[in-house]
């Protein structure tokens, strides 16, 4: 089934086309939800609500940009809306600095799995995690994030900076990444 046929089928509420679309994108979109959610069950709830929105608004898709990007945008917005209903999430957004994210030193396999990275992201406080997800992975600007989360743009920036520092620390501690070496300006001048 081509993407066009699937879209047409979904517009006329054809269950086969809907299932086909769901099968194509559900695993990728669940991973997106999972990065925002507290648990897999929460992520599945987000996915379900997101796909219902996708199917009910598919007639508004005008073919501009990628179809996957359009779905992803709806899913992300659904995740944010669900998170905003959560009081704990709103409280965490105002935390200036979250400490106490403890990770154990673990033996890391040679091959870095995507799952480990995602789990490290999920280890962040929910406010940090959301901003980091939106900025670093989903590609939203700080202005857009501020509008989505009803916060100041500066808050978004500061949240991201702290979230990134914290994640780097976790990843380095877990030996998933190495710290970038500091460039020696003298050496650069001498050997340039």
């Amino acid at each position: 089934m081509t993407e066009e046929a699937i879209i047409k089928g979904c517009i006329i509420n054809d269950a086969t086309a809907q299932r086909e679309l769901y099968n194509r994108f559900c695993s990728k979109m669940l991973a997106v939800c999972y990065r925002f959610a507290q648990s897999k069950e929460d992520a599945e709830d987000m996915l379900q609500e997101g796909f219902i929105k996708v199917f009910s608004q598919i007639h508004t898709y005008e073919g501009r940009g990628s179809f996957e990007g359009w779905i992803r945008k709806i899913i992300v917005h659904t995740c944010i809306n669900i998170l905003k209903r959560n009081k704990k999430f709103n409280d965490n957004l105002d935390i200036a600095f979250a400490s106490g994210v403890h990770t154990r030193e673990e033996a890391v396999p040679a091959i870095i799995h995507a799952k480990q990275i995602v789990e490290c992201i999920r280890a962040l406080p929910i406010g940090y995690r959301t901003v980091l997800n939106l900025y670093a992975i989903e590609g939203y600007s700080h202005k857009e994030i501020a509008e989505m989360l009803d916060i100041e743009e500066s808050t978004s920036r500061s949240q991201y900076t702290r979230a990134r520092a914290m994640l780097e620390e976790i990843l380095i501690r877990k030996k998933i990444i190495q710290k970038p070496k500091k460039e020696n300006w003298l050496m650069n001048v001498m050997f340039r």
Binding site: A15, S27, F51, I117, K179, P180
Partner: protein
């Protein structure tokens, strides 16, 4: 370990890794989406079911009404004809009095001896008390002499007018009593009433038929409800007017002769509503030798263990409660045989013992390929024991036969068998993976159309006005629940106690 050279690399690294990550949602997510999107469609389905049931009930009501009407033992004559005869007999001696209808109406009318001899007046059989050996003539005399008695007279001689304008002369008596009535053939034919020749032919035929049928009283289906229509009173004042009206009578069409319904009409259709609580179970077997060989080869190629042992020894399942509900129509072929058909909805359930487990890939090997899905349930070991409830909700059209073992029409024992083309409307069936390790849902492997067979033994009893039946029933699913390409066959058994009520009398 990744080495990040620049600051911008960190975002790129995160995005790249996050995009690689995939998760598989459980089936309930899609079910929730589907339910939400197709809620209206499902309501239509229930609406259709409701419409079918209502239509069936209406058909039943109409059929039962027609049957009860045809069971009346009645001689139907046109209004005008009855007036002719009556007037002819009244012509000689008209004295004020009460007609035979006066038992109920107390209307003063002309009377004479001919009234007693006239059998064209109604005589309702059901009101006749056979314990009192009185003749119709004497009862009629009583009625005439005691017009104020309202309910004591067992015989109602009446000429009733139906809604269609046809008067009904209902006669009733035992054979012996009937013989005491004057022969209809001996009635003098009214002069100048050529149109009523048909009536006299009618009378003669009726008399003969009555005599024949009275010899076998069981064949007579007598009405228990006399026609509740206004009765015609023959008053002295309107007799003259009626005579003038009758002289211009139209010719009586032959179809009125067909309205004599003396013979017993057998019930053509019987409608039943039934409910059967059932216990459902299943049997499992390998599909076939060929399928097994093919399956084994493909599974080995895929690196999966083939079905190495009997599947029945590898699974643990238990019966569960289900039910069947439906409406059945039986066409009476003969006194002992009925042809049956109907509409039935069934829910068959059984449980499989499984264990919850984190998501893992379950592979099911078909004849031609492998299919994989995510499973959260293991067959043998896992985090927590659980019983997976499997169910099939289906609609079927049972077509079969019934045989009675007794000639008694009210209370008897019988046996029935039917074949039921079945459509699976909804289901939740967990299929075992090829390595017997996991259970997973694979709706695409479920067979939608199937055929069931059913055998039942029942006893039918009449309690008051209700005819009900009860008896054990076994239903067996002839084709596997799964498509042929799935290497395991599943056949469902339903054992139940069928309880039914006959809708029409």
């Amino acid at each position: 370990m990744e080495y990040l050279k620049k600051n911008g690399d960190f975002e790129k690294f995160l995005k790249e890794k996050a995009e690689q990550y995939r998760m598989h949602p459980s089936e309930k997510v899609w079910e929730g989406i589907y339910r939400s999107l197709h809620r209206r469609k499902r309501n239509y389905t229930y609406g259709w079911i409701f419409l079918i049931v209502i239509t069936s009930l209406l058909i039943w009501r109409n059929v039962s009404r027609r049957e009860s009407f045809s069971h009346q033992f009645a001689i139907r004559l046109p209004d005008q004809q009855l007036h002719h005869i009556s007037l002819n007999h009244f012509s000689e001696n008209r004295t004020p009095g009460y007609s035979t209808n006066a038992v109920n109406t107390k209307t003063p009318v002309s009377t004479d001896d001919n009234i007693q001899n006239s059998t064209i007046v109604n005589t309702d059989f059901t009101r006749f008390d056979i314990t009192k050996p009185r003749t119709i003539i004497s009862d009629l005399s009583d009625a005439v002499n005691n017009p104020v008695e309202e309910s004591s007279t067992e015989i109602s001689s009446s000429v009733s007018t139906s809604d269609t304008g046809v008067q009904t002369a209902e006669a009733s008596a035992t054979f012996e009593e009937f013989k005491e009535l004057p022969a209809l053939e001996q009635f003098p034919q009214p002069e100048g009433l050529t149109a009523s020749n048909h009536y006299y032919q009618l009378q003669s035929q009726t008399a003969h038929l009555l005599e024949e049928k009275m010899q076998n009283p069981e064949e007579l289906h007598l009405s228990k409800t006399p026609t509740e229509t206004p009765r015609t009173a023959f008053t002295e004042e309107n007799n003259e007017q009626q005579i003038s009206e009758q002289e211009s009578l139209p010719f009586i069409p032959d179809r009125h002769q067909e309205s004599i319904q003396v013979k017993s009409v057998k019930r053509a259709w019987i409608w039943q509503l039934y409910f059967t609580p059932t216990i459902s179970y299943r049997t499992l077997a390998e599909n076939s030798v060929n399928a097994y060989v093919t399956t084994s080869a493909s599974m080995n190629a895929a690196g999966i263990m083939p079905y190495a042992s009997d599947v029945n020894s590898m699974v643990y399942h238990r019966p569960d409660m289900g039910f069947q509900i439906g409406i059945k129509s039986a066409y009476v072929l003969s006194e002992k045989w009925n042809l049956t058909g109907g509409l039935q909805f069934s829910v068959s359930k059984y449980d499989i013992k499984a264990f919850q487990h984190p998501d893992e890939v379950a592979t099911i090997t078909l004849r031609d390929r492998n299919v994989s899905t995510i499973s959260r349930f293991r067959n043998t070991n896992g985090i927590k024991e659980n019983w997976l409830r499997n169910f099939y909700f289906s609609a079927g059209i049972p077509i079969g036969v019934e045989k009675k073992f007794s000639e008694n029409k009210k209370n008897f024992i019988g046996m029935g068998a039917s074949l039921q083309p079945t459509f699976v409307i909804d289901n939740r069936a967990y299929l075992i993976s090829s390595d017997y390790k996991n259970y997973a849902e694979m709706p695409s492997l479920i067979r939608r159309m199937n055929v069931n067979s059913s055998v039942e033994i029942f006893t039918q009893q009449q309690t008051g006005k209700i005819r009900w039946r009860v008896g054990p029933q076994v239903r067996y699913q002839l084709f596997s629940s799964f498509l042929k390409k799935y290497p395991i066959n599943e056949h469902l058994f339903d054992f139940g106690i069928k309880m039914g009520v006959q809708l029409n009398k």
